[in-house]
């Protein structure tokens, strides 16, 4: 296992209740977990089991109905949206199933985004390096619609790591890709994760991807049914 230099992320008694058309609906119920710094965790489960909801809560995109979440030593559930946004900017990277590159920006500009948001002057330089690292140095000026799915996801990976986040959240990063491309993207994800010594939280259907994580967490109907090392 990775060296235990502290806990990057922890959750206790986290539940999420939303208003559905037929009254209240409990999506998550009493979830607890802890991810050591530099560790990797895969959240697996059937579609609709609450994986994305949990990921969103852990990353501070939303607030839990009950329970507490601590990210890099800061309690997320007591912070307001603006404070969480500041925290995300510094500490968190994202990879999405549907890439979410801004269609209006070219590859380089998309990768620059996190640095731009932080007001850094060396954004272009770092973005160029990050793109080169994912093998797209020559495609800097291409726009998302000029890139294949796999290439778009590689740009997204460059964007996720460019500002050196402490923890990376990935929601089905290979879900929209064919198996071969998915494998390439998966390799790249884990390689970057190692290089940056980033803590990784990964939601996936892909069994092989999940097994590459140090730990797996099974969700069923919003509850943890099995946590496997």
């Amino acid at each position: 296992m990775s060296t235990q230099t502290g806990i990057a992320l922890s959750a206790a008694q986290v539940s999420k209740v939303v208003d559905g058309p037929d009254g209240q609906l409990t999506i998550l119920d009493g979830v607890a977990l802890a991810v050591p710094r530099g560790d990797s965790l895969a959240i697996v489960g059937a579609s609709g089991s609450g994986k994305t909801t949990l990921l969103g809560l852990l990353a501070g995109l939303d607030r839990p109905t009950t329970g507490s979440i601590t990210l890099a030593g800061t309690r997320l559930d007591t912070l307001d949206e603006e404070a969480r946004a500041r925290l995300r900017r510094r500490l968190v990277g994202f990879v999405f199933q549907s890439f979410h590159l801004l269609p209006a920006l070219n590859a380089e500009e998309n990768v620059m985004l996190p640095l731009d948001l932080d007001g850094r002057d060396d954004a272009r330089e770092h973005a160029g390096e990050a793109l080169a690292r994912v093998g797209l140095g020559a495609r800097r000026h291409h726009y998302p619609h000029q890139l294949s799915g796999g290439e778009q996801q590689r740009v997204a990976l460059a964007r996720a790591f460019v500002h050196g986040p402490e923890i990376l959240f990935a929601d089905e990063p290979t879900g929209n890709l064919d198996q071969r491309t998915g494998a390439v993207v998966g390799d790249l994800l884990f390689a970057l994760n190692r290089e940056h010594a980033t803590t990784l939280v990964l939601v996936t259907h892909d069994a092989t991807l999940a097994t590459r994580c140090a730990r797996n967490l099974h969700l069923r109907e919003g509850r943890i049914v099995e946590a496997a090392a």
Binding site: L55, G56, L61, A104, L113, D116, L117, H145
Partner: protein, 826 residues
């Protein structure tokens, strides 16, 4: 965050690729329409003012009962203004044993400052002229007839012998209908030397100035506090009533058209912004996810908007100015006289209004983006949730309302439009909701494409209502511009039919009435109106003598200080309308009075009030029993005050007649005035021509402006259609992947738009018709207007058809592209 760099980058890319271009186009057109319309309106307006200036003979006049101190002339000259000094007084002209009382005008050589003055020489040839030289006069034809002299004859005036140099042809300042005597024009130096202006003379002095607008205004400001007692400033606005009506009406038309263009552009911008904001949701969610704060999101959006707005407004401005120049070039003769300089106010205002329209109408949907939740990157339906009421929604309403208020420059027009458009919007929401309920239940029983199309409407309820509202408003505006406007103009022109009285005859004695009537009939006079006239003084209102000092209105003061004219008639005269009370009963024993609305307002009179009038030696106490509305545009002999016939007949009186005579009537009328030397004939042809001329010019200018505003309306239609175009394209692509035929897609889209178009069209017909009727009576004061519902229905049906076709053509494009491409992008 590097907000500026980010905003600039977004703008660059988004502009080349998608929606912002629509927003910019809407803005360019908004500013172009406004700049063109407002500039054109202002230039036409100024040209009309200049033409009205001819009627007072200058851009500004100062009237006084004594000659003005020389300081006034010096000051005007110092400011670079041209000046003309005049004195008007009655005097008798003699030739042998004949004499004639004349209205004499003594003027320095500068006459006329504005307008054309022509004289006919001995050969009857007309040429432009100035005031006659010392020792000569020009006179009306009536003087030559009365004195039985020809041009070149010597006559006596003010105890001196002068040469009759010419016969007065056209003359500016011919606006006074009640000039009692024919005109004579002489040199001011002659009048001063002859003692005609000495103590005891009843001369009315005037100083006229002309020059550029700024200097005239500055001179007026300088002169106002220094005016001697009894002196008054006359401006162009005080010019003759008929002309003023024509002018105000024309101005209202132009303002209406410009206003509609501005509002339409606002709607276009709002719709484009709505669409843009919907597109931006994904991006904002991602930025929020990556840690951008709300403040950064908002400032980036505002910045992007500003970066777009400034160049778009500049392009619009250039385009608008070019367009109005083209219109001026194409519609030659649109402006009377020289084209006024390009004014800077209206284009700058258009620029400012463009920015106000953009931020007023586009900011609300964009600012709402700050509420986009970061979780939306995972769940696309999150942002679509209906939000509670937001104060931001008041912004476009406020901007729209201030546009109406400022643009209308007239509270009536503003209120009518605001209430009208609010009514159309409300009706659309209410009827739209009802219709959607019906559609929802009907759609379930239909099949295939038709069901899909109608179900779409019901599913996108908020968007459907927005779209229907925008369509209804723009169709209403289109109908106002395309049908109601022109028909109102037509009604206005019809106000002066060909048989409008062009001659007045005054001072006819009671015993001459019957023979004159026969004589006029023999001459072929039509539209003859003969009424008694008694001239007197207003002595008391409800027993108290009115005090001129208590009224600021010039007309009210002159009614108190000067003469009042009274007439009477068994029946309500034509061009009069009973507004309050009843016309005189034949059995009345006490004197009764009917008062014109304007006069009643001036003195705050109501039925039951008692006026005391003195005519000659007689005083009469009459009770007001009715209030009349008089159509002063009719050019008939009309009166503010009318007595019951029994009381009127006891007063000393003469008769006045108004009638129409076709063609050149000078020979026969000359004979008439020889046979009845006591009567005076007043030629109204000049002023009629002037009014007709102004109506003609204004209607031509308005037609152009209306046409241009129509373009703005079309843009709104396009923008309204584009609101759901993205959705529809995506759905169509989806349906095609599921195997739908092009025909089925067309049916779905056509059914959707037919329902929308029908709803909006029906509301627009009713709305435009109702607005037209209210505008006709309350703003344009045009009696007897009824909106052309057939033409309205035709126009709106055509527009609805175009709406449906445009929607259909939009989907044809999808049929040609691969559905995969669309799906991948969505």
């Amino acid at each position: 965050m590097k907000t500026f760099a980010f905003a600039a980058r977004s703008l660059r890319r988004e502009f080349r690729h998608a929606e912002l271009a629509t927003l910019a186009a809407a803005l360019v057109l908004a500013v172009a329409a406004l700049a063109a319309v407002a500039t054109l309106a202002s230039r036409v307006e100024r040209a009309i003012v200049a033409s009205a200036a001819e009627l007072i003979g200058g851009d500004l006049g100062i009237g006084a009962s004594k000659a003005l101190p020389p300081a006034f002339v010096e000051e005007a000259r110092r400011r670079g203004l041209a000046t003309n000094r005049l004195a008007d007084f009655p005097s008798v002209v003699f030739a042998g044993d004949k004499s004639r009382l004349c209205d004499v005008r003594a003027s320095d050589a500068a006459f006329p400052l504005r307008g054309a003055f022509t004289v006919l020489d001995a050969h009857g040839i007309e040429h432009p002229a100035h005031a006659p030289p010392v020792g000569a006069i020009d006179a009306d034809h009536a003087v030559l007839v009365a004195l039985e002299v020809a041009i070149g004859a010597h006559v006596q005036l003010g105890g001196r012998e002068v040469v009759l140099g010419g016969e007065i042809g056209k003359s500016p300042d011919s606006g006074n209908l009640f000039r009692l005597a024919p005109r004579v024009l002489m040199n001011l130096a002659d009048a001063e030397a002859s003692g005609l202006l000495g103590p005891g003379s009843r001369a009315h002095y005037r100083l006229l100035v002309a020059g550029d607008e700024g200097s005239v205004a500055a001179f007026a400001a300088w002169a106002k506090p220094k005016l001697p007692d009894g002196a008054e400033i006359t401006t162009v606005e005080d010019a003759q009533q008929n002309l003023r009506n024509a002018f105000e009406r024309g101005e209202s038309f132009l303002r209406l058209a410009a206003l509609l263009a501005a509002l339409l552009s606002g709607v276009a911008v709002a719709l484009a912004a709505q669409r843009f904001a919907r597109r931006k949701v994904e991006e904002v969610a991602l930025l929020r996810c990556l840690g951008a704060s709300r403040g950064e999101i908002v400032s980036a959006l505002v910045l992007e908007l500003a970066l777009l707005a400034l160049p778009a407004c500049l392009v619009g401005l250039t385009l608008g100015l070019a367009l109005q120049q083209i219109v001026l070039g194409l519609a030659s003769g649109l402006l009377p006289g020289a084209t006024p300089r390009l004014p800077w106010g209206p284009p700058l205002a258009a620029f400012a209004v463009g920015l106000a329209v953009l931020f007023g109408f586009a900011l609300p949907p964009l600012l709402r983006l700050r509420d986009v939740e970061p979780m939306r990157v995972f769940r696309h339906d999150l942002g679509a949730r209906v939000r509670r009421f937001d104060v931001l929604y008041l912004l476009p309403v406020a901007v729209g309302a201030s546009l109406v208020l400022i643009g209308a420059g007239n509270l009536r027009l503003a209120a009518t439009l605001a209430i009208g458009f609010a009514g159309v919007g409300l009706a659309t929401s209410v009827l739209g909701l009802v219709l959607l309920k019906i559609v929802r239940s009907v759609a379930g029983r239909l099949r295939g494409a038709l069901r899909f199309g109608l179900a779409n409407l019901a599913r996108r309820r908020a968007l459907t209502l927005l779209q229907a509202g925008a369509l209804a408003l723009s169709l209403t505006a289109l109908a106002l511009l395309g049908v109601v406007g022109p028909s109102l103009l037509e009604r206005w022109r019809a106000n002066l039919p060909p048989d409008t009285p062009n001659w007045f005859l005054i001072n006819l004695q009671p015993e001459q009435r019957a023979p004159m009537q026969q004589r006029l009939h023999a001459l072929g006079a039509t539209n003859l109106n003969l009424l008694p006239l008694a001239v007197g003084k207003l002595v008391a209102i409800n027993g108290r003598a009115p005090d001129a000092a208590g009224f600021t209105d010039r007309r009210t003061r002159s009614a108190i200080n000067g003469e009042v004219r009274v007439s009477w008639s068994d029946t309500l005269p034509a061009a009069n309308k009973l507004l309050e009370g009843r016309w005189f009963s034949t059995r009345t024993t006490r004197p009764e009075l009917s008062v014109d609305r304007m006069w009643a307002d001036m003195f705050h009179l109501k039925p039951g009030d008692i006026l005391t009038l003195r005519v000659g030696e007689r005083e009469i106490e009459a009770t007001i029993t009715s209030i009349r509305g008089v159509d002063w545009d009719s050019f008939r002999a009309n009166f503010f005050l009318m007595l019951d016939p029994a009381s009127g007949a006891t007063l000393p009186h003469s008769f006045v007649a108004s009638f129409h005579l076709q063609g050149d009537a000078s020979q026969s009328l000359a004979a008439l005035s020889r046979d009845y030397p006591n009567i005076s004939l007043i030629d109204l042809n000049a002023i009629l021509d002037r009014v007709r001329d102004i109506i003609g010019r204004v209607t031509r200018a308005v037609s152009w402006v209306l046409g241009f505003s129509l373009l703005a309306g079309v843009l709104v239609l396009v923008a309204a259609l584009a609101v759901t175009a993205d959705d529809r394209r995506f759905e169509a692509a989806l349906l095609r992947t599921l195997g739908a035929h092009g025909r089925q897609l067309s049916i779905a889209v056509l059914s959707e738009f037919a329902v929308l178009g029908l709803l909006a069209g029906a509301i627009a017909v009713v709305g435009a018709g109702a607005l037209g009727s209210v505008l006709a009576t309350s703003v344009f004061k045009l009696a007897g207007y009824s909106p052309p519902f057939a033409a309205l229905t035709g126009l709106v049906a055509a527009a609805a058809l175009i709406v449906a076709l445009a929607g259909w053509i939009g989907t044809l494009r999808i049929a040609r592209t691969s559905p995969m491409a669309v799906l991948r992008r969505g």
